[in-house]
Amino acid sequence: MIDSSHLRAALLAIAEAVSAHAEELTALDAAIGDGDHGANMKRGFDAVAADIDTICAKPLAEALKAVGTKLVMTIGGASGPLYGTLFLTLGKELAVNPEAYVVAYRKAVEAVAARGKSGINQKTLLDVLYPVADALEAGKPKSDVVAVARAAVAGTKDRKAIRGRASFLGDRSIGHIDPGARSSLLLIEAAAGVLP
């Protein structure tokens, strides 16, 4: 069972990873977007870390919703509503079915797709989130799930962007890893390191 203490460890690990990779995310974003992804993600997860005691005093589902709201309010770019929706939906789903983690994750990924009006293979974070949902549903061990996510990030390099700012570049977006895919791998790696 996952509880608020697991969430606490996961969120702090995510905040640390995002902070450590902020410049890398910004560099990836500068190539095909507007170069603010690192700073935006760092602002969002720093705000979550600063509020970690209040957030994790809540039951898991409520805590996840609080994380989502915090990200929406602090990230500032399009990733705010996208990552915010991921956590908000995890919270909403787990409030109804407390231990249906894999189902909740699938629903959360679908909610992110709806929020971004996007789908898989459009060079976004969904290119990572969807294969991870498939791997979780297949019951793969954590190390395999992380491997799937890593391969998925690499796969965004040769893809052409169809959604988001990078789509303005058309074919010129090919050859660059998607920054949102990269940041979602940071979340998945950090979470996998601490979740049971």
Binding site: D36, N40, G76, A78, S79, P81
Partner: protein, 129 residues
């Protein structure tokens, strides 16, 4: 008679404020109007909190039409609309229209007492289908 309100959301506070002053000059003061721009740190970007506050400032019971510039402004505006309290979110729409021309056209339509659907349609006529 209360008219539909207009909110302008840009990554840049300068663009948002400039578009708002064009609306005021061309359309006048009969339309509730608010703008916001910039991320939570004051850099280029958009802030859900600021968008919610702008919707409050331009609030009309007839509804509010939001005009946005690029990507994140649209996603953040849609998120802001969903986070409004009560059933107010049903009275707010994000228009698929260019921000400056859309704001002026939407405000012109609104100043004549048009419904939210009419205001939105007028702004969206500016976008290729």
């Amino acid at each position: 008679m209360k008219n539909v309100g207009i909110v302008i959301v840009s990554h840049s506070p300068l663009v948002a404020e400039g578009a708002a002053s064009m609306v005021r000059q061309m359309v006048g003061d009969d339309v509730p109007l608010a703008w916001c721009g910039g991320n939570p740190e004051g850099g280029l970007g958009t802030s859900v909190e600021a968008i919610i506050a702008a919707i409050d400032r331009a609030w009309s019971d007839r509804g509010v039409a939001i005009l946005v510039d690029l990507g994140g402004a649209e996603t953040n505006s849609e998120m802001a609309v969903e986070m409004l309290d009560g059933d107010r979110s049903h009275k707010v729409v994000v228009c698929n229209a260019p921000v400056v021309e859309g704001a002026v056209m939407a405000a012109t339509e609104a100043s004549g007492g048009a419904s939210l659907a009419e205001v939105r349609a007028t702004a969206e006529e500016l976008s290729p289908a």
